[in-house]
């Protein structure tokens, strides 16, 4: 972008400020009014925010380039500009949709009964949901690295209390772990931003993109910021805070944390590598995020298959899915090491992020409903759940199906785009990771499906009623993920991407993945594939599973995690400098 273009805003730019501030106005109004107004304010804000996101999408469709808004009329570098390109608009829309779905679900848990006074849970939940929404919108549209730091702080401070809404000692410990590690990440990000300002005298992203040189200061800044953001996204091996935090929070809060909060820091890594520093990043350094992603997929998936509780299975599958989100970085580079495949990588990344946000929100909600109805979520004892809670179980399975890349899910199209880039750039090794990750996802769908469809030894008694709206909200989000690529080609992506989607070859992929998944479960799961429980003799594979669990426990301790954080920053800087 030429510097001259920065001096003016575009039509519809004020909508970007509205997208950021409306949720915060709702949060402040909710705090003031309190009591029964807490859910009401949230439910007024949801259609409003969705409307603003749709208006932004329509304004972006009419414009030639990104939407730009100069706050206070001051242009960068002195002032702050808000910007929305295609990726930002897609994320704004997706987050608005997911917030509405989660809000509908949460009415069952945090809606106030008539006559009831203000409760602690409802107060914190609705206000923080709105705060997370505003913070994420700011991450997507901010064009300034310091404003983005503020956005990350907003996101962290809004996310942490959601972890310990239940108030038990265990969840408080999880929240403390989360905030301490996330703040380490913030400090590294801020350090990088300070170095960039010291070196180039601006924090505006397009201005920096034009000024940055491949030199030590830029390498150091990118390495520090990348490591800090990895910690906030919980990319393996920096995931020590995620399983207890996401597994222990109430389902409505886990959905927010897993589907939405981690996408903020991930999106910032995408922005930094592909938009701000394409001149600093190189193909060799880009292998690092994807290599950690591959490790995340394998470790997260194996440990997920060995969980005994459904919510922890979903939490560990998030660890694996986060890895999937980082596979795009090397695939932005072509065989010559130039960043020519950037557009494809960005589209694939955003598709995968939205696919995960919708599907994972639905799956956490389904797991929460199962827990609420059955009074437990032990995977081995889920027999009969499909009959008792057909809609919630369908939401879980559809969400899983969408994440493993069944046609026409968003994950399918994302995988297809990345497979194409891997072939073009000759990076065949990522093809294996992409397909293997899908097989692991198929594994936990098979694992849960085999349990929920089984006939229970005795008819299920004492089923607690759960809200029908909550069940349908979960299913709605999962179905949205399954149909996402239809929306993508109806929107900005070329329709011929789906031309062969329903061909025999593509459809045959699904049974292959299921077969591979069933094999993985048979080999690695704690209890045998069929039969209720008990130790079958599979010593070789069981040993492998235990080894992965031990490795995961090791890196989830403070000292190894902090060492890993420094090591990631150091390795990233070294790879960048080596070129």
């Amino acid at each position: 972008m030429a510097p001259g273009e920065l001096l003016t805003g575009t039509e519809g730019g004020a909508l970007l400020a509205a997208a950021v501030l409306l949720p915060f106005v709702g949060m402040l109004a909710g705090l003031l009014l309190g009591g029964r107004w807490l859910p009401r304010v949230a439910f007024v804000l949801m259609p409003l925010g969705l409307g603003v996101a749709l208006a932004i999408a329509s304004a972006r469709a009419d414009a030639d380039g990104p939407l730009v808004y100069l706050l206070g009329g001051w242009s960068p570098p002195l002032g702050i500009a808000l910007r929305a390109d295609g990726a930002a608009v897609a994320m704004l829309l997706a987050v608005a949709g997911v917030v509405c779905g989660i809000g509908a679900f949460a009415r069952g848990d945090f809606g106030l009964a008539p006559g009831a006074g203000e409760s602690r849970g409802a107060f914190a939940y609705w206000l923080l949901l709105l705060a997370v929404w505003g913070a994420l919108n700011l991450v997507f549209v901010s064009g300034d690295l310091f404003t983005l730091y503020v956005a990350l702080e907003l996101l962290t401070f809004a996310g942490v209390p959601l972890v310990c809404l239940a108030g038990s000692g265990e969840t408080l410990r999880a929240a403390l772990r989360y905030i301490l590690f996330a703040l380490c990440g913030s400090v590294l990000y801020l350090l990088g931003a300070v170095l960039l300002y010291g070196g180039y005298g601006t924090l505006d992203m397009p201005l920096l993109a034009g000024a940055l040189q491949p030199e030590p200061i830029a390498y150091a800044a990118l390495a520090l910021m990348t490591a800090g953001l990895f910690a906030k996204t919980a990319l393996f091996p920096l995931h020590l805070w995620l399983p207890p935090a996401h597994g222990g929070a109430p389902a409505a809060a886990s959905a927010v944390l897993s589907a939405l909060v981690i996408k903020g820091s991930w999106f910032l890594v995408l922005r930094l590598w592909l938009d701000v520093m394409p001149g600093v990043a190189n193909a060799a350094a880009a292998q690092l995020p994807a290599a950690l992603g591959a490790a995340a997929i394998v470790t997260g998936s194996v440990v997920a298959l060995r969980q005994q509780r459904l919510k922890l299975l979903v939490a560990y599958s998030t660890v694996a899915q986060i890895g999937y989100l980082f596979l795009l970085f090397p695939l932005a580079f072509d065989a010559a090491g130039d960043m020519t495949l950037r557009e494809v990588a960005t589209s694939a990344g955003v598709l995968q992020a939205i696919a995960h946000a919708t599907a994972k929100a639905g799956m956490f909600m389904a797991a929460g409903l199962v827990y609420a109805a059955l009074g437990h979520d032990r995977i081995d004892d889920l027999a009969g759940a499909a009959k008792a809670l057909p809609v919630a179980v369908a939401a879980f399975l559809v969400g899983g199906l969408a994440l493993m890349g069944a046609v026409p899910s968003g994950a399918y199209l994302a995988k297809k785009l990345l497979l194409g880039s891997a072939a073009t750039s000759g990076q065949w090794w990522w093809t294996w990771v992409l397909q293997g990750g899908a097989a692991f996802t198929a594994g936990y769908v098979v694992l849960v499906a085999l349990r929920v469809f089984r006939r229970p030894p005795a008819p299920l008694a004492d089923l607690k009623p759960v809200s029908a709206l909550s069940q349908w909200a979960a299913l709605g989000l999962a179905v949205a993920s399954l149909l996402l690529s239809l929306a993508a080609v109806w929107g900005p992506l070329p329709p011929d991407l789906l031309a062969k989607a329903f061909s025999l070859e593509e459809l045959a992929m699904l049974p292959v993945l299921f077969g591979a998944g069933a094999l993985l479960v048979a080999a690695l799961a704690r209890s045998p594939l069929t039969g209720s429980s008990g130790g079958a003799a599979r010593p070789g594979f069981a040993g492998l599973g235990t080894a992965f669990e031990a490795g995961d426990r090791l890196v989830r301790q403070w000292a190894p995690a902090m060492l890993a954080l420094l090591l990631v920053a150091g390795t990233c800087g070294w790879l960048l400098a080596r070129g």
Partner: protein
């Protein structure tokens, strides 16, 4: 001479930093940290960053120190037990080596910065008249980068929501912190009667001076919050109920008025957070006046902690 003083201050600072890290007793470590913050403020004065110095002394040393002291008080019971869980000598040595390596890397990072360091200061100077204020820091905070300031105030409100969410369910809506009981004729009660009038005047002066001189709402709010805490701790007044509508109005006043002025700018000056010509100074004063209760209340209530007595009225 000044080099000698600078070198002495730097050495003292380093010594205090190490002392704070190695101190075995949490109270002593916090005491070291507070002194460190005050000394750091002195360094900023020597670097001619008076605004930063005031902020460091008020927030870095004062407020953070007070929050940490509160935490130390709550940890007293478990401190002896955790002291035995200390790391091995090898781990400590490894951590020390690592810390030195990180410090060396950071020093290298500072050394490779270009000389002279690029700055936006030359752009700020000609733009200042449009803001109507004389202190360039205030210009940056409330005109050029007003969005950041608005959002920072919002972060504080979110932090307070987070702290309140740690309350026990039965105490929801009640009062935070303990009800302090002290001798009504004691030294604390005497100080709590004598100091606040002086502190309030100083706080308001620092607040008002911030438009054209070093100072401003954050530093002023810290002083005012400290005075309120002093009155509470002397048992002269109690913390308010967290369900109190007036209290909540004060908490949200700052960000809401800020946003309202921003919307006024959209309507009257063509851009959100823009000031109509000639009205910049009065509008900035309106924002600052509205932010002051928000900051005072949030800072003091963060010190008070979650509501824990006297549940629903």
């Amino acid at each position: 001479m000044s080099t000698v003083v600078s070198a002495a201050v730097v050495l003292l600072l380093l010594w205090l930093a190490v002392w704070t890290v190695v101190a075995r007793d949490a109270f002593l470590a916090v005491a070291g940290f507070v002194v460190y913050g005050l000394l750091l403020a002195l360094v900023w004065v020597r670097l001619a960053g008076i605004d930063v110095a005031l902020t460091e002394a008020a927030i870095g040393g004062g407020l953070t120190g007070a929050l940490l002291l509160g935490a130390v008080g709550r940890l007293r019971g478990t401190e002896a037990a955790t002291a035995t869980e200390g790391a091995s000598a090898g781990a400590r040595a490894g951590a020390a080596v690592l810390a030195v390596a990180v410090t060396a890397a950071l020093m290298l990072g500072v050394l490779v910065l270009p000389e002279p360091v690029p700055t936006l200061a030359p752009l700020v100077v000609p733009a200042m008249p449009a803001t109507g204020v004389g202190n360039p820091i205030t210009g940056v905070l409330l005109a050029f980068r007003a969005l950041d300031t608005l959002l920072e105030a919002t972060v504080l409100v979110i932090a307070l929501i987070g702290v309140w969410s740690f309350a026990p369910d039965r105490a929801w809506g009640g009062r935070p912190g303990p009800r302090y009981q002290t001798d009504p004729d004691g030294v604390l009660a005497w100080l709590a009667r004598v100091l606040p009038p002086i502190g309030v005047v100083i706080g308001i002066y620092v607040f008002w001076a911030g438009a054209d001189h070093p100072g401003g709402k954050f530093q002023a709010a810290t002083i005012l919050a400290a005075m309120w805490m002093l009155v509470q701790m002397a048992g002269l007044s109690d913390a308010p109920r967290t369900s109190h509508r007036g209290l909540r109005a004060g908490i949200v006043a700052g960000p809401l008025v800020f946003i309202a002025v921003g919307v006024l700018g959209l309507w009257a000056a063509g851009s959100f957070l823009a000031y109509p010509p000639g009205l910049a100074k009065p509008l900035i004063v309106v924002i600052e006046v509205a932010l002051l209760p928000t900051l005072v209340l949030v800072l003091a209530l963060l010190m008070n902690g979650p509501p824990r007595r006297g549940g629903p009225a």
